[in-house]
């Protein structure tokens, strides 16, 4: 199966993240890049852009703008041409999906392929049915690879409202977090890098309202941000990046963003009760 990895307005973080896939050699036995910005490919970028080369999947990395060209060819034209050749288009990373940080850059009207933050765009509406979004900053290599294999095996991939595979994005990053006990009893005595404490209440952790599988499918098969002691920054969400990522925005002590789907009145009632537990074991350092 042949893939074109097309970079638009990007830091190339997704291309680099992909290199961390632990079984890359095996992957390259099953897939072939007609072009990838870092991996040796069959064609040069000039050849890919000047002619139509047969391929099955178009991977788009980075945000797009009508002002952005690749070798003097508008990125919009390249996407249109290759979208007619490929079976699927996969946006990798939050910039290609939602516009990401480059929305604030110099190119005018910078967006993702189908979304400007959470607003659905009509420009490439005809490609909607063939598109899959794998958001994240950067993309999780295992989630990308698993999706590519699902495409290869022509599986039916169920998608959410932002075209993300539900298999990976129907959960929150909170699911599987090793700090859940601290969350349940509202203990945020965290110091960055420490094993103890939940980071939702004071330290800006967005895991309870961020869609992703970071705590179920670990990064490099080893770790996740919250396990390592750093808050989830909500990098898979349409509004990423927000500001003050290490601080929980509160209004009179109540977190502005509550866990996904949780009613405020119910949350406060439950929080008042759990806070009263005052569990000494959780307040102290384990080591």
């Amino acid at each position: 199966m042949k893939i074109l990895w097309l970079s638009a307005i990007t830091c190339n973080g997704n291309a680099h993240s992909f290199l961390n896939y632990p079984y890359l050699e095996r992957f390259l036995d099953d897939f072939e890049f007609i072009y990838h910005p870092i991996i040796d490919s069959l064609y040069t970028i000039e050849e890919v852009i000047s002619t139509n080369i047969e391929c099955d999947i178009l991977i788009l990395e980075g945000a797009i703008s009508f002002e952005f060209n690749k070798i003097d060819i508008p990125i919009f034209n390249i996407i249109e041409r290759y979208s007619k050749i490929v079976r699927k288009i996969v946006t990798v990373g939050s910039c290609a999906t939602f516009g990401g940080i480059f929305r604030d850059g110099e190119y005018k009207d910078t967006t993702g392929l189908h979304f400007n933050k959470d607003i659905k765009l009509t420009r490439f509406a005809n490609l909607y049915k063939n598109s899959i979004s794998i958001s994240g900053c950067p993309v999780h290599p295992e989630i990308l690879v698993n999706t590519l294999y699902a495409i290869k095996s022509t599986m039916n991939i169920e998608l959410d409202e932002f075209l993300r595979p539900k298999e990976f994005f129907a959960y929150t990053v909170h699911n599987g977090c090793t700090r859940n006990e601290y969350f349940e009893y509202k203990v945020d005595n965290h110091i960055f890098g420490k094993k103890e404490g939940c980071m939702f209440y004071e330290h800006g952790c967005q895991a309870p309202y961020t869609n992703g599988s970071c705590n179920k499918i670990l990064w490099n098969e080893v770790n996740s941000k919250t396990r390592a002691g750093v808050p989830c920054m909500g990098c898979t969400q349409p509004d990423f990046p927000k500001q003050n990522l290490f601080e929980t925005k509160k209004n009179m002590g109540i977190p502005q963003h509550l866990p996904l789907g949780v009613n405020k009145r119910t949350y406060l009632t439950l929080a008042g009760i759990t806070k009263a537990f005052n569990i000494k074991r959780l307040e102290e350092d384990i080591f």
Binding site: K250, N251, M252, G253, I254, Q256, K264, R265, L268, T269, G272, I273, K275, A276, N278
Partner: protein, 183 residues
């Protein structure tokens, strides 16, 4: 519950006995113990009952599509109205719950037994900050200013020190609270 509440509020927790309550309810002492195993448990149930009552009143205000300034006035008004029409409720809150913390230490830790009331106060504050009307600050600083002020006025009324009826103070006090809490 109402009968026990009135007795506790008027005589105090320690001066009120289970037989007193049983008599006021026209119930045998033995039957009384079938409902409540101890006076402490009855005291806890009463504070939950008051919290739920006041919480429901505040929830009705919170759910109205009005400004925080209007909500502030509505909360002050309902608090004083309850203090005037059901004085035993606020008296119990001030003179039993807050003054006899040892009774409530075990089963009413933190704010568990007044959760419904406090939750609505929190929602009032949170929505006030979100709407840009109230200044963001520590919850207890704001809570103390609001509820301490109201409780103080009811206490003064109970001591017959206030020269006027509570409802005559609603405008001034809601103005003061809003001014103190607003941005």
């Amino acid at each position: 519950m109402q009968g026990a509440l009135e007795l506790f509020a008027s005589k105090g927790f320690y001066s009120t006995t289970i037989p007193d309550i049983a008599i006021s309810l026209k119930m045998s002492v033995g039957n009384m113990y079938n409902y409540f195993k101890s006076k402490d448990i009855l005291a806890e149930e009463i504070i939950k009952f008051i919290s739920a009552y006041l919480g429901k009143e505040l929830q009705r205000i919170n759910e109205k599509d009005i400004s925080t300034k209007e909500k502030t006035r509505a909360i002050v008004a309902i608090y004083f109205e309850v203090a005037m029409t059901k004085p035993e409720m606020i008296d119990y809150f001030l003179r039993i719950y807050l003054s006899n913390r040892e009774i409530f230490r075990d089963n009413c830790a933190g704010m568990i037994c007044v959760n419904e009331f406090v939750t609505e106060v929190m929602i009032y504050f949170e929505e006030g900050v979100k709407s840009g009307e109230l200044r963001d600050q520590d919850f207890f600083s704001a809570f103390g200013l609001f509820m301490g002020y109201l409780g103080g006025m009811v206490f003064l009324k109970g001591e017959h020190i206030l020269p006027r009826e509570l409802d005559e103070y609603v405008d001034d006090i809601s103005f003061n609270i809003y001014k103190a809490l607003s941005v």
